[in-house]
Symmetry: D2
Subunit: 264 residues, 4 copies
Amino acid sequence: MCRWAAYIGRPIYLEDVICRPGHSLVRQSHGAQRCHTAVNADGVGLAWYGDRPEPGQYRDVMPAWSDSNLRSLTATLKSHLFLAHVRASTGTATSRNNCHPFVVGKWSFMHNGQFGGYDSYRRHADALIPDDYYQHRKGATDSEALFLMALAEGLETDPAAAMSRATAKFETLARDRGTAPHVRLTAAFSDGQRLYALRYASDDHAPTLYHRWSDTRGGRAVVSEPLESDEEGWQEIPAQSFCVFQGDSLTVTPFNPAALRAAA
Amino acid sequence: MCRWAAYIGRPIYLEDVICRPGHSLVRQSHGAQRCHTAVNADGVGLAWYGDRPEPGQYRDVMPAWSDSNLRSLTATLKSHLFLAHVRASTGTATSRNNCHPFVVGKWSFMHNGQFGGYDSYRRHADALIPDDYYQHRKGATDSEALFLMALAEGLETDPAAAMSRATAKFETLARDRGTAPHVRLTAAFSDGQRLYALRYASDDHAPTLYHRWSDTRGGRAVVSEPLESDEEGWQEIPAQSFCVFQGDSLTVTPFNPAALRAAA
Amino acid sequence: MCRWAAYIGRPIYLEDVICRPGHSLVRQSHGAQRCHTAVNADGVGLAWYGDRPEPGQYRDVMPAWSDSNLRSLTATLKSHLFLAHVRASTGTATSRNNCHPFVVGKWSFMHNGQFGGYDSYRRHADALIPDDYYQHRKGATDSEALFLMALAEGLETDPAAAMSRATAKFETLARDRGTAPHVRLTAAFSDGQRLYALRYASDDHAPTLYHRWSDTRGGRAVVSEPLESDEEGWQEIPAQSFCVFQGDSLTVTPFNPAALRAAA
Amino acid sequence: MCRWAAYIGRPIYLEDVICRPGHSLVRQSHGAQRCHTAVNADGVGLAWYGDRPEPGQYRDVMPAWSDSNLRSLTATLKSHLFLAHVRASTGTATSRNNCHPFVVGKWSFMHNGQFGGYDSYRRHADALIPDDYYQHRKGATDSEALFLMALAEGLETDPAAAMSRATAKFETLARDRGTAPHVRLTAAFSDGQRLYALRYASDDHAPTLYHRWSDTRGGRAVVSEPLESDEEGWQEIPAQSFCVFQGDSLTVTPFNPAALRAAA
């Protein structure tokens, strides 16, 4: 399990989400409250959109709380749309290539969750990634494989359908070759225009996901855990949901990869 | 605060202290129970004695639990005398040079504790280290300064007196220029023949320190926290004590740097 | 291209091969003379055999010349059989998991060379690794894939035949989907009893490979480049050769994966 | 010796100086032509000015050519004023805290050169740094000490005089306790408004220093080595010079710390 935070709105310094709040993402890296792993210190990463279509990307293997580069970057960089992630490995090594967010072209992607027994079907997941996207396979995580599979399934043209098909393929592998829990996931991703997020589980234990619009900031945070413990306005996103954030609007639709599997 | 473990006795694999026990040092790196900081993930280090007078030294900035090198080294290396440390920074950076154990010649040294307001008198502490030892000043920690000062005070000829004088100098600086708590410390160090340890505080809150002889292993572990929670035989070392471990014997004498300060 | 050095014989300190000679492996990391890349600074690694069947493994991303851990480990560790490698990436990231030697069970493996256009057929190479070995796929290098494929082809029972089959499979992929030069490689690997090495190319430009027996040491070094520039006794291993080093003996046989491909 | 590059002018992507030119700073990290050390791979760093008075800072221990974060940051960040540095250690460890540029408040600073026998008078150099600045002493380099001493000497009010006094103090130490060559240095530093650079040696071998105004970019590069080998307009800055760059103007004055020493 990991913790992550994303933002879309008027440009703010990244530290306003990542470092400064009372229960900031950095705080969650050593004291998360709504997941099994309080410590999420197996690497940290950022993707932020600026002048160019491709986001900037920073990833490193140190715990977020001790990373001097992270501290300076978040105090210096302003962005209207960014993703940040602190990692708790479910088995793969602590290396930059296994840290989120992953970036391919203009797309960035980060993930939190669990595919039970992934190691036993990792080769089969990798084999589902077409050649064109396999060149972007740099690490060994389930998360990166899910991202590349979603790109191959058409993330560009229909993000919800692509993520649904990719998740369904993973769930089929998990049910055939893995162990329970088969799929528990939240993810956030972006093309630089919209911010997408989803919350899903094949059982009743989807990881937590919240969002909150701030009039002061003119922007919205989408997070694993609320950034302040006593702040009003944090709303939980229901399980089995797919969210599109654009400007100040939010569209939530059901996310149901199981239906695809049934139809297959 | 940090956590550490040392061993003297018949040669064992380092993992038998560092990785395998139920409350091993690696376990303490993310779940320490007898100090304020449950997470001790700002670096890890080993010093072990073998064929040569100088110990081997391994230090790195990753959390102990995710360091593949640490895992392999401790599963491969056998030693009759070794020190191991997981770090929780009290302010200085996470870098190899700030990780324990420190090594100068045949001496190795590691430390856990606190010098209140150290940053305000760091320059004065550094200035007390003679030229001959200042070349070994690689990082910025209070711990390394204490070690070099103890070497300069004659660690070679009278370890207890040298550590006492070095601690007294620190305590004087701390009382003159720092903040409470002035001194709280445990330390372990070795010349490859004997293992030394001390427990001291200028108030009533000395960090914890335990030891246990194992007949099975033919050796003794000296640790911040017992390596098994339900194991008999762990003995607490009283505060204001200096210990010499050699073979299966243990000599404990009072450690009273304040007396030196009074006499000064 | 990379540089490597291996040793089999009476136990010596690893530094006697890796750090001390005039043209030591560390020296070759910034001043190699017999390959296109004088600088081999994209990581460093060791595997050494001791009391246990599984070798110790140390890998890190720093240049060999500045790695304080490497310096201390090689000055402390003695071994009768070890492998060491300095890396010059041909494209994949500088991460521990992409550093050599790779270790699976009692086997260690390191590689130097080039598979032309590997990125375009990487997925197909990965797909040839059976599930049982794919769990050991941690990085993204061609080298690790070759090792795992050789294990799957029976490295345990017939090392020469297994390496030949694995190389033939790679060469087929390279000729079908890659670019020239298809295969240029040297490799060294061990099960802790024997040291194996091979030199091969699909064209006339196999990477260099030398060995030298030392009566003084009672051991043999097998290296990419001689460890002293003016020392007698360094012998070049011919291209298309497979070598078995055991005790003070050396057996060289032709290495001809192309024959397998023709027969297929 | 190290290599560095700085820029002042219309905002550009950092990669236009650091990565893209034919003899970019990254290229110089493995193939410098105008210094003794062709390889400058002991760490890399950036400081860039944006919206806030304090610059952003990024430093890491990997060679510049293999650092994925550096590549992404320089492709994403635009700045009107930035400093970049690739390091070749003259003895101190490869750690973030020993990497340039150093940053204190709004000031950034980087250095290339040599103080002969520095290790023998390092303690005396440290002792010259007042308490107020010593808290910023994080590493062990001569470079950081020179910067902090210059701050203490009044970098804020009279940069040329402050650098001159700091250099004179170092030169006195070097002549009293060090070895030849006593001082060889170039440095660049900034307060976010102006870019300062100096070139000086106590003998006839000052490190190289060049600058070039680009009408196309509307900015000026100040560098250890010209960024293109066949490009017109690169001008060498004479030894014993202090330069102030502001807008498109350049003021060069003599830099003569020896006069201070004579007067003392």
